[in-house]
């Protein structure tokens, strides 16, 4: 970023971004600075609440996955799988190894689709100086095509097990409706093999993007599993020693609402925390397949890292993980006797966390003895990240300096926000930025 810093930093600054673009969902940003100090900086998520938690009440457990998916078209697997696992826990069900493995594959599909889309369509134009991907495609057609190809590969993985990429229909409490026939798996394996080099190029490209440095203090939180990169099973861990069962989430994490937004803010023991690809890398790098760790080293990436923009590299590296690990799983594919276990409903409470593309998501389900929902809580990653994101913006803006032109301040804000890949549909919300210079 080359900037001419010739404005009076003590001027009144008001910046409004009434409709943030290239993020999922809709929201705004409002920024006010006076006498060289930031007075307020607020991300607003305006989308009205859709009240999912409420209208899940009274629904049968078998209806939950299809309804929960509709919270967010961008990460439906996260909603489906987290609710399914929470309810399976109520019913005292264990995942079969086949189901566990296939759930990872379908989740990898969602990661790959979402990460490739984010990097290609949302983030890269920021760093390369384009207003959008179409303009970028004129100058960098191969890069854009590669990103789209990987996005499509993610969709193929989603389709194999879920039937379609948005609101998949293949998942059910107990497992999957259908075990993919061998020939379909073989076709996907071929595609994954063919994409191996492409995704390595993609990681190198993403790592090489000219993004700013943004060192921050923060706590990383992610699902950690003893034997595999945490996605859909394990415990909640932080880099400050947190190590709890998912069921302890409500005791440690608290949500509160603030007046400028319909979103809920989440705090761990009273302070903000960070979720997402970088948090996962910070906690689970050692559990990545050797191949993925090697690539990171080759590219000079080191985790843990507190440079916020390493989120970009982490996201890209997870794309490679998705391809490599799905291959490991699918090359050993066997048809199961049955792709699901029949649930036997009983009353109780179940908690579960999984890693959505944007970070950890928590669900709590309370069911009655016939398996109907009494109460549901779903806490998406974006709202958990919101407090951290606002702090991040504050620090980044101050460091950058208010002597910069409004336009440059706004650009930086947007970059910082996009770096979280916020999903405002998820938090049931979108952003509009208003920056006030007074």
């Amino acid at each position: 970023m080359s900037h001419t810093a010739n404005h009076d930093p003590n001027r009144e600054i008001r910046i409004d971004v009434p409709l943030l673009t290239r993020v999922e969902g809709e929201g705004s940003l409002e920024f006010v600075a006076r006498n060289g100090r930031i007075e307020s900086l607020q991300l607003r998520i305006f989308e009205p609440p859709r009240l999912f938690e409420k209208f899940l009440e009274g629904k049968d457990y078998s209806e939950v996955p299809n309804i929960a998916a509709r919270v967010c078209g961008v990460c439906p697997i996260a909603y489906q799988m987290t609710s399914i696992r929470a309810m399976e826990k109520v019913f005292g069900m264990q995942e079969s190894p086949w189901v566990h493995a296939m759930r990872r594959v379908v989740y990898y599909g969602e990661w790959l689709q979402s990460h490739a889309l984010h990097l290609n369509l949302f983030a890269a134009p920021d760093f390369l100086g384009f207003s959008d991907v179409i303009h970028m495609a004129h100058r960098h057609p191969e890069d854009v095509r590669r990103g789209m190809h990987l996005q499509e590969l993610g969709n193929d993985m989603l389709r194999l097990l879920g039937g379609r990429s948005v609101h998949p229909i293949g998942l059910r409490v107990g497992g999957f409706f259908r075990a993919p026939p061998k020939h379909e798996v073989a076709d996907l394996v071929d595609k994954l093999l063919a994409a191996r080099d492409l995704v390595r190029e993609f990681v190198a490209w993403a790592v090489g993007l000219p993004y700013p440095k943004d060192e921050q203090e923060f706590v990383s939180i992610a699902v950690r599993h003893p034997h595999e990169y945490g996605i859909n099973e394990g415990r909640l861990a932080s880099d400050r020693g947190l190590d709890i069962d998912f069921s302890e989430y409500p005791e440690r994490f608290r949500e509160h609402q603030v007046s400028h937004s319909t979103a809920h803010y989440s705090m761990l023991d009273g302070s903000s925390y960070f979720l997402g690809p970088l948090a996962r890398m910070n906690l689970n790098f050692d559990l990545l397949p050797a191949e993925v760790q090697d690539l990171a080293r080759e590219l000079g990436l080191r985790f843990p890292s507190h440079d916020m923009f390493h989120n970009v590299a982490a996201r890209a590296l997870e794309c490679y993980l998705a391809v490599v690990d799905s291959l490991n799983i699918l090359q050993a594919y066997r048809l199961p006797n049955r792709p699901w276990i029949e649930p036997t409903p009983r009353a109780g409470v179940g908690h579960h966390c999984t890693e959505a593309p944007r970070g950890m998501i928590y669900h709590r389900f309370e069911l009655n003895e016939s398996g109907e929902v009494i109460a549901a809580t779903m806490i998406p990653p974006t709202s958990q990240n919101q407090a951290r994101l606002e702090q991040n913006l504050n620090v980044a803006m101050e460091r950058f300096g208010l002597q910069h032109a409004d336009e440059q301040l706004r650009e930086l804000c947007e970059k910082v926000i996009r770096n979280y890949d916020p999903c405002l549909s998820c938090s049931t919300h979108f952003l509009k930025m208003t920056v006030h210079r007074e």
Partner: protein, 370 residues
């Protein structure tokens, strides 16, 4: 009967292998994972056939149960007949390319695959003959149908088990296969009787190790067929009474059945003789060429009788009436016999469990009382 030969059960694998060696893909009855029931699907060999399974069918219900035997064909019928292998439910008819304002039409030249269908029933062969009459024998020939029809090898198996929904005896189309096959089998406790009905079939039989069938074996086969006939509890009214339906076009019974009918068209889709289809264009996004396709259609859908601004058969009553009177009465005018061969599929696969035979009987007896 003089050409009847016998081979032990193990010979079935050889028969399938011989057919495959002659270049056919083999379609046979298979248990459809996830969907239940038997369906005609490509099979690799005998291991894919439903050994020791029998079907239980009744209105809106189809279940498979183990029967404790080693037989492969101890069931009445599969969800579809031969129809999808000749009259494909969705296919491209032609493509048109637009270049400098000119239109270049090109018929679809997809080469039909040699296809052997294994386990074909008498009712399905009779229905195939009906479709042949429709698609091949008029002033215009459906070349797409013909290409596939010519590549078909039909391995029929005489029924030994009737489902509760079967009524081919009353339509005169079964349970014994009389013609239209290339090879015909009877499954016995320990093996099969086989005979050929065409030179294609005879050629394949030459590769097979067989023995002369014994009179006991032949009579066992006949007895199975007889049993099958006796077990059929349903019967359509006699053919001579069926035109009477056309005198009942205003019967209140049509309203009564329309209250239950979902107009989902499952009956027409599974019926082995139904032939309706519609055409549509599917242009490329960039508009540079367009494909012209056809889809199997149903007289239960609104497009079927659509005319600018109106639907001739707007109500289910009229749609059900069209289905039944066409099948049982007006078909005779078109092809010299009814369009129903007694397979019972429309009864089994109707989600509302509407019983075609029962409705026809009700309508006709109401007529006689009237």
């Amino acid at each position: 009967m003089k050409d009847m030969r016998y081979f032990p059960r193990a010979g079935l694998a050889e028969l399938i292998a011989a057919i495959k060696e002659s270049g056919y893909r083999v379609i046979g009855p298979r248990v459809e994972p996830g969907q239940g029931g038997l369906a005609y699907r490509e099979i690799a060999g005998v291991e894919d056939l439903p050994r020791g399974l029998s079907d239980e069918q009744s209105p809106a219900r189809y279940r498979l149960h183990p029967n404790g035997s080693q037989r492969y064909f101890a069931w009445a019928n599969t969800s579809s007949a031969i129809k999808p292998f000749v009259f494909t439910p969705r296919e491209k008819l032609w493509t048109v390319v637009r270049k400098e304002g000119r239109l270049h039409f090109e018929a679809n030249h997809e080469v039909a695959k040699k296809t052997a269908v294994f386990g074909v029933r008498a009712c399905d062969l009779a229905a195939l003959a009906l479709q042949d009459a429709h698609f091949l024998r008029g002033a215009h020939t459906d070349v797409f149908y013909r290409a596939r029809r010519e590549k078909l090898l039909l391995v029929a198996v005489n029924c030994s088990h009737a489902a509760e929904t079967c009524f081919c005896a009353s339509t005169g189309d079964g349970p014994e296969v009389s013609d239209g096959y290339d090879l015909l089998l009877d499954e016995l406790d320990d093996g099969f009787l086989i005979r050929h009905g065409s030179t294609k079939g005879a050629m394949i039989m030459t590769d097979l190790v067989t023995q002369e069938a014994s009179p006991e074996q032949i009579s066992q086969a006949c007895a199975q067929g007889e049993l099958c006939r006796e077990r059929q509890t349903r019967a359509l009214p006699e053919a001579s009474r069926l035109p009477g339906l056309m005198q009942r076009l205003e019967s209140p019974l049509w309203d009564e059945v329309a209250e239950r009918c979902l107009a989902c068209g499952n009956c027409t889709a599974v019926c082995p003789s139904c032939f309706c289809h519609r055409e549509f264009d599917s242009p490329l996004l960039n508009g540079k060429h367009s494909e012209h396709w056809r889809d199997a259609d149903s007289c239960f859908s609104e497009d079927h009788s659509y005319l600018v601004g109106e639907v001739v058969r707007a109500h289910t009553r009229a749609r059900y009436r069209q289905w039944m009177t066409h099948k049982l009465a007006t078909w005779v005018e078109q092809y010299g016999r009814t369009g129903c061969t007694g397979c019972g599929r429309c009864i089994t696969w109707c989600p509302a469990g509407i019983d075609f035979v029962d409705e026809a009987n009700k309508l006709l007896s109401a007529e006689e009382e009237a």
